[in-house]
């Protein structure tokens, strides 16, 4: 590896590690965020599990809702911790520092993603506790290796989408905030977070082609619940599509970031607050 390339790689890796550190430390410092990210989505999950009990649904549906609830914490982190991050930075007057830094913005976003995945995984343990201990959900034995593979692909595709959203939101002001708000429950619905994706039929297929959350949760359910998951596509196909999503969103994020960064600079929006 030539000198300048190695130096550039080292610089960006250091930037990624630094942003990961900030994300982890920042998440631990703010106790209300821990409650907001760990406890609240899982309270909603409990309500949906109790709805299945109210309707007298088979117990396997409760497990479906629990896994969806656990995955919802990651989606919230993608929206608010990745997609909207540049909007927050702009509001707080720090965005220009990212652009003044010598490293790539993709390195910073990667750091945010790694830190976000680590901290959200830690917080999702509360959902696991609520599901398995409090609500008494049970799953048959499963292949840990396949689970790890599917989980990793789900996370990489989701956070790559988060990077793309961050690039898009660079241009926006309050619309970014409102868009993140509007993308919560509608995406839960279109991703079949609390019910089998196949219940949505063609609409589910269309949604699965846009947001990796639906296929991710469906694939994880198939690994953990087998036939009870009422899977949408065969597990192998979903795994391949998730890998494709990862690649596509990473390329898209890089292109969108380059284009929108230039556009934001030309239109003078990078430092514009309260718009």
């Amino acid at each position: 590896m030539s000198g300048p390339l190695a130096a550039s790689l080292a610089l960006n890796l250091r930037a990624t590690a630094a942003r990961t550190y900030v994300r982890i430390v920042g998440s631990i410092r703010e106790w209300t965020w821990i409650i907001g990210d760990a406890v609240l989505p899982n309270l909603g999950m409990c309500a949906f599990v109790l709805l299945y009990r109210t309707l007298g649904a088979p117990r396997s549906f409760e497990a479906l809702a629990v896994f969806g609830g656990i995955l919802s914490t990651y989606w919230l982190n993608v929206l608010w911790g990745m997609g909207s991050q540049f909007y927050w930075e702009k509001q707080q007057g720090q965005l220009q520092l990212y652009f003044a830094a010598p490293c790539s913005r993709m390195a910073i976003l990667t750091g945010m993603a790694i830190g976000g995945i680590l901290m959200t995984t830690l917080r999702s343990l509360f959902g696991v506790f609520m599901g398995f201990v409090v609500l008494g959900v049970r799953v048959p034995s499963f292949d840990v290796g396949v689970l790890a593979l599917v989980f990793t692909l789900t996370m990489t595709s989701l956070y790559a989408l988060g990077m793309t959203l961050a690039s898009l939101f660079l241009l926006y002001g309050r619309e970014a905030w409102h868009l993140s708000n509007a993308l919560q429950e509608p995406v839960y619905f279109l991703s079949g977070l609390y019910f089998p994706l196949r219940a949505l039929g063609a609409l589910g297929a269309a949604a699965a082609g846009l947001v990796p959350l639906g296929l991710g949760v469906d694939a994880l359910r198939q690994v953990l619940m087998g036939a009870h998951a009422e899977g949408f596509l065969p597990l192998r196909a979903e795994t391949l599509i998730l890998a494709g999503f990862t690649l596509a969103f990473l390329v898209l994020a890089r292109a969108a970031l380059a284009y929108l960064e230039g556009l934001s600079k030309r239109e003078g929006r990078l430092t514009q607050r309260w718009q």
Partner: protein, 280 residues
């Protein structure tokens, strides 16, 4: 009286501008109805997914109705909390409201009135989707209109009262108020049995649930619309007892909202929190 009306109108107009001026009317309309509608569609999809395997599917319309009305809590209560956080932290205009003759109480009431209208639009759309898409229907002649109207008014009064309390807490707390706001909506979703009978809650939480007017509100709305609720525990009570419980808890909330807000605002003034910015 004329002055008060003018103040409320001005606050409502300002609220409308702040809420909606970031988008054109169509986008704003879609944004307003998207979240509550999606939650209702999640319930509908859960119902479709279970299908014939549900042994108590007949309870679904009552569940759907409770969820539709919960939009008032998420929009008005949480919205009033957000007004304080946004005006103080983001736009840094809260201090000017306090120095203006309008007064914070009138200002919040005006802002809440816009949110009430937006929540009503969401409610009607959600009920429309329920009626046409998932057959959440009721017999118009069987609706107990008088008790239903009383229930509706009391529930909205309780919603506003809680909104003031949440706004008061927002005045005192730093950015943590954001999570308190969001947390309250989800906690009430679980505690008040919006989509399931409170009978399924463990003891302790059930009793806590009965202290909240919203528990009685949702059950009253269901009973006076469909002729039955979803909770066996509340179902054992007569209509008068149910309305009485709603009235008592609502009055308690109104007192708590008024007194609580006043005390919290006073405390925030003393502690110099009215112009704090903590969103760094």
């Amino acid at each position: 009286m004329r002055t008060l009306t003018a103040r409320l109108r001005t606050a409502a107009w300002l609220g409308w501008q702040v809420e909606s001026n970031w988008a054109d009317p169509l986008v704003f309309f879609i944004y307003t109805v998207l979240r509550p509608l999606a939650t209702s569609l999640i319930l509908a999809a859960m119902y479709w997914a279970v299908g014939a395997r549900a042994t108590r599917a007949g309870l679904f319309p009552a569940v759907y109705l409770g969820n539709a009305f919960h939009v008032y809590v998420t929009t008005v209560v949480i919205g009033m909390g957000w007004v304080v956080v946004e005006d103080r932290e983001e736009y840094e205009t809260l201090k000017y409201v306090f120095t203006s003759p309008i007064g914070m109480f009138s200002y919040l009431t005006g802002r809440a009135s816009v949110k009430l209208v937006l929540a009503t639009v969401s409610l009607l759309l959600t009920l429309g989707v329920g009626w046409f898409l998932v057959h959440v229907r009721w017999s118009w002649s069987a609706v107990a209109w008088g008790p239903l109207l009383a229930t509706l008014v009391l529930g909205l009064a309780a919603t506003l009262a809680l909104g003031f309390l949440v706004a008061g807490v927002g005045l005192l707390l730093p950015r943590a108020a954001i999570n308190i706001n969001e947390g309250l909506a989800v906690s009430l979703y679980l505690l008040c049995g919006v989509i399931f009978p409170i009978d399924l809650l463990p003891h302790g939480l059930q009793e806590l649930s009965l202290l909240l007017p919203f528990t009685w509100w949702y059950e009253g709305l269901r009973r006076f619309t469909f002729g039955h609720g979803v909770s066996a525990r509340i179902g054992a009570l007569s209509n008068v007892q149910l309305l009485g419980a709603l009235l008592v808890t609502t009055l308690a909330f109104m007192l708590l909202g008024y007194r609580g807000y006043s005390a919290l605002e006073r405390r925030a003034r003393q502690a110099g929190r009215l112009d704090q910015t903590t969103m760094f």
